[in-house]
Subunit: 341 residues, 4 copies
């Protein structure tokens, strides 16, 4: 950290800054920068908070040098984190296709979707039993009954199951019935929940909040790793912007940036981001060639009757076409990974 | 709800739409609109979800007519909701001044702040014992110890206490020690938490999420009223935008809109929104004359040593000047309320 | 257009609305909608402005039914607009690769870039002679001298040239020296300039403004077609959002939406959007598979010495790798276009 | 400027950075920062662009120290810029009330508005003769005829006139007929226009673009002062955000920040920002107590018949009530300015 003093700052101002640094257990060094003075905090790896200095008299700028991210960063671990589900791997260079309905509605629906997406080539099944809904009057999910149906679908199809948990009780149930516990966008900064699932033995999927910066996302993942759970997938699902032609603005350019900064696998959810069925396939392909490790796609046997998010759900035959299209892109991406450093 | 069909839609398309409407228990009526047909859903008060129709063949537009908000709206209750704390009232036309540190740090700090803000004219004391922090490595609050210190400060000063709860356990403790339970911006759509505090006997303060639309905010409040708790204060605290001169963008123009749409009191938190001490007083005054029922101001005896949010905290003497300034504006606002319809 | 009256509206209110409609030269019809009345404006193709009715007494909602876009929409012209430059076509199903420096700096630089991008497979050359720069103290471009150098580079390489014009004088010069006139993001709503280039005989490339909605973009293109110029390419180049890991947020999901709504070709500029060299190739590939008709890529022989936008410019060898990568994706996209309706 | 090298950077990397610095005519100095090296560029007042260094091998961070703003900053001039129009002053501590219709429509309309706002206490008259409209099919203004009507209204009422210019031709006419030339939000980065009006002898009002950062706004003003025109008023008029309850999001917290950073007067336009008549008065009052030097208010004799922006226009009697309300706040603000440093 470098603390740059104002032009007119006094010797006393500089001493006060250095006293605070010392009081926090760091060492400091005074440096001339332009016609002004700067104070350097010596330890690089873990810096004190910038805020502590910004309000001291005479201080002009506080420039952090180290990054607040630790365990999720490439500095902490250079090789990619890989998750294994039986013979399936996530994050090892292949592409993971997750599909399923927004919400589990009944046995017939979830089994129909599960079979159709497995047949089309999906690698995992998604489905919500606890649905965070903007309105209290909307369908809130089947709860434990939904989890049991997901477990049944897994037994029928062999597909590992991803499902969302929203509190202590649903985490415990999800641990029992599911393979991956999802933390939804609206709970990305529900730190009590992050601490709880960070202690879970189940792999986690952490969706980016719709107002989360890159750093916010990485620090929420840091909560998970810091609590002891190394098996975390990040998921971009669209952010809030003024742009009103899609439900959220899919921030696809975060994918190559995350690839560079973190060793965790990165998924993309084009269904929730766009909100329009006809945009899902183009955006899923775009996510793949931008370097994502997987996509999550909503599929419903009859979207017009879906209890939740019908307009963005693909019909089974549309999903099959998308899956085939992604499969035909796979050799291209495999080649890219080899030739491009 | 009005469902407008495409120009080339068929008789069959229209029948299918009307069948779905009937299947949901509503009646319908076909209307000619321009050279096209429209189908009207008859019951006004509670409409089916638009999404159910948007994907049916032949449908062009689905136009909702009723508003999804029920209990928090002026239609449900035209007179203002008023909260009472001893002789103090919130929402009855006066202006409530809430002040205190971001986080409770120790007995000396909280008592010093509590006394100074009471002497300056504050109506309530704020202070965090459970702090949602972006990084797991930042100070997370003193927990129950912090709540006990807040209760002590209340005993010393007579000021009612507002404090944040973040999960089941902290809600139970906050119910025991505090007068108002705050739901923070990051938990505005933590629906499990909303359902829990909606069952609390304590009044609630619900902060707007940084990516929440007006409707999102009202519907989160709807969760609270729907669960049985009518004593809810809304609080604007800044949204995420590209504008980078302040920490968040204070969306002050939501105040007159909320005033019109809901009977709940509306507070503004200029401290978290701006992130800069020097902007707090101008924005607090602006909130008052825009019609807010109160403001929440961060105050710290020595901001440069604050464990959290120092740069936005006022020093006690700065807060006293702001409180005096707001008091001198009060007669003006009282007159406004009488003369302006 | 449908005008929905409030529950308590009077006969007089309805009559007043119908009088205004008649005064504007339209016919109207009263309809019962739910327990309320609605007034329908009869002519579909061109509606009066909604604003005219929103403020009349008794009016609750004004619902537009027709879309403000006319000439750029698929309704006005269902087949794709195709631009031809010698043997090259834009918008006819192939993929156009535009490359070149942000700014023309000198003869050596522009010729070196032009030759290298032609050899790598670029279809057109881009380069700025009039640069809109945020600061008056930054390099503003070489002006006419830059245009002459671009014309020289075209002569040397055979590549058609795209360059930006910013006012009357530069439009006239660009018409003389260049093949396509670009209107930059900051001038997307400079309507005086739009009217001027709308009368030009040269094809146009219109960049989306960083705060432009889909409708804003289409209506700016409407200015161009309405002024008589049918040869317009639209270009997504990133919007302003809170997300700070990239310079702008590339809104790639607008591509399939534009594809659906307009017959004009759509390009994407990942260089300006991301601002980081390492993200350009993944985003260019993503643009291609999302359905864009082309991309614009910044290339500089030595980005560290570029007078403008160095950090986002590819080195010639990096561009060659990207061009090869896009070429290997082309058969995939050709197949997609055939199999997917 | 401070350039921080990566941990593994070589002596050669550092030398290359220092060579580039020298080549640009600056001096440099190597400094140890934490376990890494930094290079300091010696001249403080005008730094080279950060971008030039960000891409050099071995460079980790480039930290600017000086601010790109020169002539509009408080460093360049500490006392406030004051504009004088006869006996009226803008920026000298009073509050300027600008009012008038969005567009000049005809003689009767503009004279009626001008008289009513003068009688209510307005200081200046606003009215558009050249209207930048999103759609080419909307009313574009009366052109020179409108300017003549504004001049007539000035003659009748004595109010100085503010009107927008959009290109070379309209600037010349506005110079002839008006007292202040407005550059609209959509032209804030139309640098050709800025250079032209920067050479005008008329005072200027520069509206903030809807995607402009604080720095963008200041640098656009810098174009004006750099071209020789020192008489510039800045105007906040709302930015684009996701928040959809108002037309734009009024970023009122920029007011105290501008007050701190620049000597130029700052106006606020709550009419265009909110888009709703009922929010205009609360936001105008809020602007005043936040420290703005003036507000611009749209007034129309019959908003329901306005050719432009009717829903946000106040009726004359509503404007008179607002003007009275602002006048009664004036003594409060005068006292504030004296007591608060």
């Amino acid at each position: 950290m470098l603390i740059v003093m104002k032009s007119g700052s006094t010797r006393e101002d500089v001493d006060r800054v250095r006293d605070v640094i010392q009081g926090l257990g760091y060492e400091s060094q005074a440096l001339p920068v332009a016609e002004r003075l700067a104070v350097r905090v010596s330890e690089y790896a873990r810096e004190p908070s910038c805020e502590l200095f910004e309000t001291l008299p005479g201080v002009d700028l506080v420039l952090p040098i180290s990054h607040p991210v630790r365990k999720v960063g490439r500095l902490a671990r250079s090789e990619d984190t890989v998750l294994r589900f039986g013979s399936r791997e996530v994050g090892s260079g292949g592409f993971t296709l997750v599909a399923g309905p927004c919400a589990v509605e009944n046995e017939e629906q979830i089994l129909a979707v599960a079979r159709s997406v497995r047949d089309a080539g999906a690698d995992m099944l998604r489905g919500g039993a606890y649905k965070p809904r903007t309105s209290p009057y909307d369908f809130q999910g089947l709860g434990e009954e939904g989890l049991k149906l997901l477990a049944l679908a897994r037994k029928e199809t062999g597909l590992p199951v991803i499902t969302e948990a929203v509190d202590e009780a649903s985490v415990e149930l999800a641990e029992e019935y599911a393979d991956v516990i999802q933390i939804g966008a609206r709970n990305m900064q529900n730190f009590a929940l992050l601490k709880r699932v960070g202690r879970s033995r189940r792999p986690l999927l952490l969706k980016r909040g719709m107002s989360a910066t890159l750093e916010d996302l990485l620090l929420s993942a840091e909560y998970l790793l810091d609590a002891g759970n190394p098996n975390v997938i990040l998921c971009e699902r669209g952010i809030r912007s003024f742009s009103d032609h899609s439900r959220y603005t899919l921030d696809l350019s975060i994918v190559p940036v995350l690839e560079r900064l973190t060793h965790l696998p990165v998924f993309v959810d084009p269904s929730h981001a766009s909100g329009h069925r006809s945009s899902v396939a183009p955006l899923a392909r775009a996510a793949m060639v931008a370097g994502a490790d997987g996509v999550m796609i909503e599929v419903h046997p009859d979207p017009s009757l879906a209890l939740c998010d019908g307009p963005q759900s693909l019909r089974p035959e549309e999903f099959a076409a998308l899956a085939a299209s992604l499969k035909s892109l796979a050799p291209f991406m495999a080649e890219q990974r080899e030739t491009v450093p």
